[in-house]
């Protein structure tokens, strides 16, 4: 006996389960995250620009942060000279997060969307958010 009916039913259930994420999302808008850059420190900047271009920061901030930590911890070079010649003290906590003091609305909004969970925050203290 081949039990054709049972096999087909099994197949159907299997397909239903594996394709659930796809048809469950049909018709729903895929809302891209909008990281907020509205913080007091950023508002005070005359030129609202990060240390490098937005496109570079979006695509490469993780590589940059890796270079930063190696430079500061291993080579004792704690000043970053940006491509426009401006100098920044290398520090996630004291440089990045002084401007981006809204970790939840800035960092987390994209990280949650992309499903990445960087362990930077296991040691580096996130700024205390008021609200």
């Amino acid at each position: 006996m081949y039990n054709g009916g049972k096999i087909l039913l099994g197949l159907f259930i299997f397909l239903a389960v594996v394709t659930f994420p796809f048809y469950n999302n049909v018709g729903k808008a895929n809302v891209a995250p909008k990281p907020s850059i509205d913080t007091p420190a950023i508002q005070k900047l005359a030129d609202k620009k990060c240390i490098e271009s937005t496109a570079f920061m979006k695509a490469e901030h993780m590589q940059l942060l890796n270079q930063w930590r190696d430079s500061a911890v291993r080579d004792n070079s704690r000043v970053y000279v940006a491509s426009d010649g401006k100098k920044y003290i290398i520090s996630l906590q004291n440089t990045c997060m002084k401007c981006h003091s809204n970790k939840k609305e800035f960092c987390d909004s994209c990280h949650n969307y992309a499903g990445v969970n960087p362990y930077c925050w296991d040691c580096h203290l996130a700024p205390k958010e008021g609200k």
Binding site: E52, F56, A59, E60, Q63, L64, Q67, R69, S71, V73, R74, D75, N76, S77, R78, V79, Y80, V81, A82, S83, K87, I89, I90, Q93, N94, Y119, D122, C123, H124, L125, P127, K128
Partner: protein, 267 residues
């Protein structure tokens, strides 16, 4: 008609070459982007060939003197207080003369009172650090200025370094330290469960041109400087006083000196 083993291996080989080729292109693009940037030390940073510390034991008079120095380190470095010695994390602490200097056989060279005193202990930033030799990940390494540094990002918590250090200078984080830090210093990171930590000679302060926190808090009882420079404060202090180091016979070359006699205060 299926493919035979030979055929299969050829395809696998070809795809591997293709994949690697692709990676190199990605790498090249990434390196290109980051190339514009440069890294330099901070302008006012304190520099030395070999940092060393001289602790003038005679200048520690009261319990308060030790506490002030230890607290200076604990509070700026977010050192947790677990309340029990089994989990203790310590960068600078005190112990008795017998424990600190088990090999010292000349008690008559010392004033009686010194034997009763607690001694301030910390990482010796050894010249030939056994902790660096055994660390499998190079998380513990020696900088060109002699500071034995620990890269928390790399530490895998194997604790080889703790076994290798003859001075008990390293602590392991058995628990998440965060809930046990009374007042977090927002400017300095904490550590995480599963890493080893110790005194860093305040590298973050030296980079800014500041002396280590314990030195600053000691009111002149602790000196810090370049031991290779004959004109440095540490060398001057050592030339006119009687100083000892912890377990020098082991050959690790400790860079913490304890002044216990000599100079004008000689009894």
């Amino acid at each position: 008609m299926g493919i035979d083993r030979r055929e299969f291996l050829k395809i696998v080989g070809a795809s591997a070459v293709f994949a690697l080729g692709g990676m190199t292109i990605v790498d090249a693009i990434m390196n290109d982007n980051a190339e514009a940037a440069q890294y330099t030390p901070e302008p006012g940073a304190l520099v030395a060939k070999q940092w060393a510390m001289v602790i003038d034991v005679r200048k520690f008079k009261t319990e308060e003197d030790y506490k002030r120095v230890i607290n200076a380190c604990n509070s700026i470095h977010n050192i947790p207080d677990f309340g029990e010695s089994k989990d203790e994390v310590k960068w600078i602490w005190t112990d008795t003369f017998e424990h600190a200097f088990p090999e010292q056989q000349e008690p008559e060279l010392m004033q009686e009172s010194l034997k009763e005193l607690p001694f301030l202990l910390l990482c010796n930033h050894c010249k030939n650090p056994p902790c660096v030799r055994v660390c499998p990940t190079k998380a513990t390494f020696k900088r060109s200025d002699g500071i034995v540094m620990q890269d928390m990002h790399r530490c895998i918590g194997c604790r080889f370094c703790m076994a290798a250090c003859p001075y008990g200078s390293r602590s392991f984080n058995w628990k998440d330290p965060r809930p046990h830090i009374k007042n977090e210093n927002p400017d300095y990171p904490t550590r995480t469960k599963g890493v080893v930590e110790k005194c860093t000679f305040c590298v973050e302060r030296l980079a800014k041109g500041l002396m280590p926190a314990c030195v600053e808090a000691s009111n002149g009882a602790i000196l810090f400087g370049d031991i290779t420079d004959p004109n440095s404060e540490v060398r001057k202090a050592l030339s006119s006083n009687y100083a000892i180091r912890r377990k020098p016979e082991l050959g690790t070359g400790p860079n913490i000196y304890y002044i216990i006699g000599g100079g004008s205060d000689n009894a």
